[in-house]
Each structure stands twice: as structure tokens, then as C-alpha cells.
């Protein structure tokens, strides 16, 4: 692949080199610009996985819409779940600018060929889980996503700007739920503590494997798709979240968690990586349920898609006939 172009001084330079120089200068790549195949493939994989996560991510919370404890909580939860659908669609739209087909991406999710974030394979048995998800899961997502607003691929960066604007509401409504429970009856406070106990480690796992076991990270950093390492973002999340838990009067379920004056960060204990890889392989508490539900919803909606397409076809034919008659 030694396609070359001329640099400003007239010397030959490879397309790869010119691409990298462009990125090093903090400039953006747009859909029809030349890009290495691997850059395109990496982005399609990352963006579509992100989209699938948003779509599957509606399920654990959707579970509580009909049982939200008040109308105020219910409208907020409906709006949040609708936003997650929107995030999925912004992202599919961005992936399509790279030549990915929407139908293929949807098919890959439904057949299980494509991955989505493991966090959505955990159950939401109590109302406090809705608080914990907003506070911790959306909080971790924000840590991951804010740097993506500056990612090198223009349409992805722009989609992430929209997503990030909406995520802040998600986290605040979750924290408010936790606050009310933590200041409530002893049983309510215990419910909040129990949710924190169950969601803490899975939230830390959301940042992905440790840096020394994350083989594709270096290339993604070089292409400025990714801007911070997994461990860096995880640390940032811990540092932000510990004081928030203290404010609630809840205890983070990690005996090794403590402030390290020297590092200026919180130290924390070993993470349950066996669990991470088990859930990733499909053995989490709800993997099967999530996939079955997504597939059922998709087939239940088939007649709507077919009817709309048939109606559009008929209208088009009618218009064409009218034009011919005139």
C-alpha cells in the first residue's frame, strides 16, 4: 500500500503519514476523507457497540417505569429511557457515515455477534437500583464520554456532544433518588446501601480492562479516537464518586479504598476481573433475558415496519400515476 501524495514541499508522503500528521495537528476527519481501513473498522466497531449499549441499556430501567414511586419519578424515568434510545440512534447515524449499514448493525446485535456494555446484564430488583444506575452507571458513562466529544472523527464527536448534554440530567435524577432514600427510613437507607453494594464494582469494570491488558488502546490513542487510558478514567471516576457517597452517608463496599496523599488520588482494591470476562462471555445475571427481549421487540415490530414501507410504496405509485395523468 504505497499510495503517495506530495507534501507542501513536493516530497512524496504516504497517505497514512499525511492522515497521521493531520490527526497530530488536532484536526478532524470527516466522512468522505481518506482514512486507513483499520481506522474505519475500529470506529465502526466502537460506535456500533456504543449504540447497542444505549439500546440494551433501556431495559434495566424500563423495568421500573410502570412501578416508579411517584408521577415526578415516572416522567423523569420515561424521559431518561427515551434519551437512551436517542443516544443509540445518534450513534447508529454516526456509524452509517462510515459506510456501515443500519440493518447489518441491528442484525449483529440481534444475533449476538456484536457486543454491548456488560453493565446492562445486571438486574434491577429494587427502586434504589434506578438511583444507583443514574448516579454510578451514567456517571461512569459521562467520564468515558466527555473526552469522546473531542475524538478525531467528526460525526462521532458531534454525536457525543449531544449525548453528554443529556447525560447530566440522567446522573442528577439518579443521585436525587439515592439522596431521598439515604435520608429516608432505615429500610430505605438500607435499600440504597444494598444498591451501591451491587453496582459499585460493575461500574468500575465499565472502563474496561487494565491498561496493560488492553491491546488496542495504544493504536486508538495514536489516532486520537481515545484520549485517556482505561485506568486513568477509572481513577477519575473513583475520585469524583467517593465524596458523593460520603455526602449520602453510604459506604463504598471496598475495604481497601482510602485516600492516598502522595498520589493525590484514592487507592482502591482489586477488581473482580473474572466476573468481567464471565459477563462478557454471556454468563452475567441477565444476558439471555436482555437478548431475548430485544429479539422479541424487534419481531413484534416487524408488521409496523412492513406496513409503513407498503404505505410509502403505494403513495409513491399513486403520485407517479397522478403525474402521468396530468
Amino acid at each position: 500500500m504505497s499510495q503517495t501524495v506530495a507534501d507542501p514541499a513536493g516530497a512524496p508522503v504516504s497517505l497514512e503519514q499525511r492522515f497521521q500528521d493531520w490527526i497530530d495537528a488536532e484536526r478532524k476527519i470527516e466522512p468522505r476523507d481518506w482514512m486507513p481501513d483499520a481506522y474505519r473498522r475500529t470506529l465502526i466497531r466502537q460506535i456500533s457497540q456504543h449504540a447497542h449499549s444505549e439500546i440494551i441499556g433501556m431495559q434495566p430501567e424500563g423495568n421500573w417505569i410502570t412501578r416508579a414511586p411517584s408521577l415526578r419519578r415516572k416522567v423523569a424515568l420515561i424521559a431518561k429511557v427515551q434519551d437512551e434510545a436517542g443516544h443509540g440512534l445518534y450513534l447508529y447515524s454516526a456509524a452509517e457515515t462510515l459506510g456501515a449499514s443500519r440493518d447489518d448493525m441491528v442484525a449483529d446485535l440481534l444475533t449476538g455477534k456484536a457486543k454491548y456494555s456488560s453493565i446492562f446484564n445486571y438486574a434491577t430488583p429494587t427502586w434504589a437500583d434506578i438511583g444507583a444506575i443514574g448516579w454510578l452507571v451514567d456517571g461512569a458513562a459521562i467520564c468515558n464520554q466527555v473526552p469522546l466529544c473531542r475524538t478525531s472523527y467528526g460525526p462521532y464527536a458531534r454525536a457525543m456532544v449531544r449525548v453528554c448534554k443529556e447525560e447530566s440530567f440522567h446522573q442528577r435524577q439518579g443521585y436525587e433518588i439515592m439522596m431521598v432514600l439515604a435520608q429516608g427510613t432505615p429500610e430505605q437507607k438500607q435499600m440504597a446501601q444494598d444498591a451501591l453494594n451491587r453496582w459499585w464494582f460493575p461500574s468500575l469494570l465499565m472502563f474496561g480492562p487494565p491498561d496493560d491488558q488492553s491491546p488496542n488502546s495504544a493504536q486508538s490513542m495514536k489516532w486520537k479516537i481515545k484520549r485517556h487510558s482505561n485506568d486513568e478514567l477509572r481513577q477519575r471516576f473513583v475520585d469524583m464518586t467517593v465524596p458523593q457517597a460520603e455526602f449520602l452517608g453510604l459506604t463504598i463496599p471496598d475495604p481497601d479504598l482510602k485516600w492516598n496523599d502522595e498520589r493525590g488520588h484514592y487507592d482502591f482494591g482489586d477488581l473482580p476481573w473474572e466476573e468481567f470476562y464471565a459477563v462478557l462471555k454471556g454468563h452475567g445475571p441477565c444476558n439471555r433475558q436482555r437478548m431475548a427481549f430485544r429479539n422479541k421487540t424487534f419481531s413484534d415490530g416487524a408488521w409496523v415496519r412492513e406496513a409503513a414501507a407498503a404505505y410509502a410504496g403505494k403513495q409513491k405509485a399513486r403520485q407517479a400515476a397522478a403525474v402521468q395523468a396530468a
Binding site: E30, S93, P155, R158, A309, A312
Partner: protein
Amino acid sequence: MSKVNWPLWEVFVRGKAGLSHKHVGSVHAADAEMAIANARDLYTRRSEGVSLWVVPASAIVASDPADKDSLFEPADDKVYRHPTFYDIPDEVGHM
């Protein structure tokens, strides 16, 4: 799996009266009416707009990035098209 290839529509939103429509992304829809409905649900959930355009993505004609230099470079050396090219004494005041 049933595939119904609803076409792709590019979406443009006018933020408020006085601004032009701006590209925000795309939606799939069976027809134009549904494209407007989908664009409204997806891109204006928080009063981001007062008007929508949807355009079949296949109808957009774009310049080729490979032609970037021949199309846009000729403008780079035409400094005389900019006001700063002209020397006007300070005494004249703001112009």
C-alpha cells in the same frame, strides 16, 4: 430476520427564527412525513428547534474531498478580497 430498508434522510434544524437550518444527523423513515416525525422525536426533545428539513440522503450532491485543493485553494492567494489588504490612514477613522 426481516429487513425493510427504510431510506436514510439527512436532518437539518433551525434553532430559532433568524438562524439558518443546520445539519444535525440522520434518521431512517419510510416516507417524508415519517422522517419529519422521527427527526422531531430524535433531534428536538429539548426545544432545540423551531423548524425541520429532511432530505433524502441520496439526493445530496457533495464535492469530492480529492478536489479540495483545486476547488478551494485558489481563494487562498486572493488577499485583495479581504478588507485588511487596503491601507487606509487612521485619521479616516473606522471603515
